[in-house]
Each structure stands twice: as C-alpha cells, then as structure tokens.
Symmetry: C2
C-alpha cells in the first residue's frame, strides 16, 4: 500500500491508472476506521482492480460548534487497517493542500440537502459535496462506495454526480452494526458507558416501527408519533427526527405510496453525541399479496 499526501501526485497516479485501463474504486472516509469502512473496502475490492481509500477530516463539513478539533485521528492505526484490508493507495492530504489560500469555489447542493441533516447542520452538505467532488477529481474513480448509514449524504451525492455529469458510479453498502444493533460509527467512541447502553434503542425503535408500519401503513402518522414519544421518554435521549422519506429526494412521504422507495430515518442526541440510523421499509403489502 502506497501512502500519498500530495494531491497533484494522487491525481497523476490515478490518471495513469486509468490510462492503463485499471478500474478504480474509491472509499472516502474521515479516518478513525472501523468495521463499517472495512466492509466498504471489501466491496470495493470485489468491484475494481485498484482501491483508493481517502482519509480527510474535512473542516468545511463541520459547524462551528461541532467536533472538528476533537474528531479522532489515529493515523497509524488507520493505515495498518487499510493495508490489511487490501487498500492499494491511501490518500491522506493535508487540509492546506485541499483548501489553499484563496480557495473560494464550492458545490451548492439543492433541495435533497435542505431537510433533516441539512436543516440541523447548515452548510454541512455543501462541505461534503465540495470535498467529494474534489476527491473524485483527484482520485478519478470509476466507482465510489458509501455506506447506507449516512443515507441523506448518499442521496445528496447521487444527485450531485447526476447533475454535474461526474460519470462516477455510486455504490451503497449496508450498515454494519454492533451485536446489539447499534450502527457502527466513529463517533460511538464519544459515548459514556451509560449512553452506550441506551444507544441501541434507536435501531430497536426503527425496526419495531417498520414492523408496525408494514402491518398498518395507513396509520403511519400515529405510529411515528408513538415511536417518537417512546424514544423521547428516555431522559438522556433527545429525538431530532423520526420520519419516512423517499430515499432519492428525502422528501417526507407516505409508506403506502406505491411503489414505495421509502426509508425510515431517525436521529437522536445522547448527551453531546448525535446518532443517525435508518431502515428500509419493505415494498407495500397489497391485497394481492394476501394482506387483509
């Protein structure tokens, strides 16, 4: 595995690989690698001859009161994990080389980025889209693999790739979970022992809510409200949203729409730590399927 820190060198290497008809897959991360990231690398290796992993804690996607400075940066451990997962190139540029003096051009995302995470974290998705575009230009991938955990990010990036004709195939990989269901995330390490015990309740609520919706999709509002109330009744937990959205547009939708490309998404705050998760809603049960 080759470690590259210079953007120009990365771009030259990836353009050369392309000219040699190598298929390039990229996995973009902020480091603090975990089993979720490694699952993306494994999928990348199945799909492409060359796998580039990027590690960049992108300042422009953090709000002023967020955790940019304390975000974990265990570079040596990350590099060892990347190497043993079979990464070919680890691209870890310095912020000054990604945002040099005078930097001023960015990607402006649209309506898919306005709600939920976009509303709670102003500027977040523009920061994500800008750095992903830059990293795509530097690594020149044929495909880029992202986890389904950041479902709205996936929708924003699919929209950007389509709108700006970037000609990169976006693959999504399933959420990796701890034994108790908690979605794996670099930020889980912020949780105290007692918070960590409560954390799986988000996923538990999502799966239970999805089961209820599958039985009785017409009363989806009441079901969502009851679930929200149940989560909110836990003293340490602050529910930010629990909603059914179209997975492409992130517009709130009814689960009995046919066809339903629906996600049940949720975000809670446990102390200072935000947890995100989502589950896919099954296609609607129709009368012909033997439903009531």
């Amino acid at each position: 595995m080759q470690i590259i820190t210079d953007p120009t060198a990365m771009q030259r290497i990836s353009e050369d690989l392309r000219m040699k008809h190598q298929l390039i897959a990229v996995v973009m991360t902020m480091g603090a690698l975990h089993e979720g990231h490694i699952s993306l690398v494994r999928e990348a290796k199945k799909q492409a001859g060359t796998v580039i992993l990027t590690i960049f804690v992108n300042p422009s996607q953090f709000g002023p009161s967020e955790d940019f400075h304390r975000y974990p940066r265990p570079f040596d451990k990350d590099a060892a994990m990347a190497k043993s997962a079979g990464v070919d190139y680890l691209f870890a540029p310095e912020p000054d080389l990604i945002y040099p003096e005078g930097f001023q051009t960015s990607v402006a995302t649209g309506s898919v980025a306005e709600r939920f995470e976009g509303a709670l974290r102003p500027g977040h998705f523009n920061g994500v889209a800008t750095v992903v575009l830059k990293l795509m230009m530097l690594t020149r991938p044929h495909l880029a693999i992202f986890g389904q955990k950041d479902a709205q990010q996936l929708a924003v990036l699919r929209t950007m790739v389509r709108d700006l004709n970037l000609n990169v195939r976006i693959l999504e990989a399933p959420i990796i979970r701890e034994h108790d269901g908690l979605a794996v995330s670099s930020r889980n390490m912020y949780l105290s022992t007692s918070q960590r015990e409560l954390a799986p309740l988000l996923y538990k609520t999502l799966t239970e809510t999805a089961a209820r919706l599958a039985e009785n999709s017409e009363n989806y509002k009441e079901i969502l409200d009851a679930s929200k109330e149940r989560l909110s009744s836990i003293p340490a937990m602050n529910v930010e949203y629990l909603a059914i959205v179209d997975r492409d547009t992130f517009v709130e939708t009814r689960p009995d729409n046919d066809p339903c490309r629906c996600l049940l998404i949720g975000a809670v705050r446990l102390g200072g730590t935000r947890l995100l998760d989502n589950v896919q809603l099954p296609p609607r049960k129709t009368a012909e399927d033997g439903g009531a």
Copy 2:
C-alpha cells in the same frame, strides 16, 4: 466533423479519445459564431489533436430580464463555420438533457465573481461555472480555450479549475477586434447603425486611458474619473464601470503596484446592449527602466 447532441454519447466519445491518448481541446460557445470563436478553434488546433466545440445557450447564466430568448441561434451557419475551421466534434445538447427534471446542484463561485459583471448580473457566474464544469465533465478536455474579452469569466473559471482540482489547462486567447477596434461579440448584431458608430469609443477610451496611466500612474484615480466622464458625456452611452483590477482576483488595484498584473476593464450600455472590453496595463515603469 461529427455533430453530437446526446451528453452520454459525448462523454463516451471523449473518454474513448482519452484512452487512445488523444489530446482534447474544447472551445465552449453559445453559438452565433464569429471570428473571435474561430480564433479560439485555430489556437485549439495548434494545441491538441482533437478539437471539440460546444454550442449551448445556457439558460442559467441569463437573468430574467436578459436576452436568453432572443439570443441568436443560427445553428446551420455555425455548424458550417465550425466544420470549415477544422472542429472534430460539435457538441450541441438540448437544454432538457443538460438540466433534466430535478436538476438542483450547482457551482457556487466566490469573491472573484462578486464584483463588476457578478454584481450587475446576479447569478450569472454561478450559471457559467456550473455549465462549464458540466461541459468539462462531458468533453473531458486536457485544455479549454477562452477569449480574453470576458476577462472576469476567465478569472472565475481559472479559480474554479484550481479550487475543484479539475485538471484542465485553461488557455486564453487575445480579443479579436473589428477594423475600428470594437471587440467582436455575438451581441454586436443588436446594435443599431448609430449605436454601432459609437461602439468603438469604449476601446478607444480604454487604450487612451492605458496610455495616460503608463505616463502618470500615481494620478490613476483622476485619470479614470476623467475617462469615465468623457464616455458618460456621450448621450446614448451609459458607463457601468471603468476600473483597474488584478487579473486573477478582480479586486480593484493601483496601477503602480509592483508587480502589476493589471487589467483596465470597462462596460457600457448602448441602448439595450451591453459592451464589455479590457486592455492589459503594461508592467510598471520603474526608475531603472529610465523613467522619471
């Protein structure tokens, strides 16, 4: 010359050309081709084995009260001119294929796009930058050639290419002028006979002002004011700006800065038609050069 209207087909052809180690130059236009555009094609042919000319009247760079609908679209004449100039691929996509339903992602330009044209035409440079990025992704050029007439556009695009790591070399080509000095422009055809007679006064004023500044750069404010007043005294002419700017940042600057990468830029309105022009200011005369 091959005419292509489908963006996906264009992208496939340009990616294939790249894989065959063909050097690609692109000249982006809104059609209504004139000698200025043809000079860009000639330069492109010197620089690259394959020349793509794009014709796209981009709705997103026109303001609501601007001339999008009446902008000339003489496609057959343009195609004939392109062919005889030696263009290899003429890419002329339909607006619906460039901005399909749901399109929402754009490029947000920064401070270089705020003043002058950016201030007078809100949203113009974001529209330009977005379509240029898209056309670059579709034509995958090694180099793109733009005219110096739209000097602020050049500065905006250079900034975008640098900031977003687009890896396209931007070349600039000198302004082509009519026999009386008027910069060639597709919009000159809007001028009435009497307006056309007055139009060369913009360039005349710019060259005279540049000569005065070369002699006496310390009094640049007075010299600019006098020139503005002279142009404004012509009843049909409305001076929008006359200024000395850094050619990269478009920040107003002193012509006696050392080194001076200065442009003298001007814009006037003649009836409903805007005329833009600029001249480069010579490097500062220093005492060592034999100046006073």
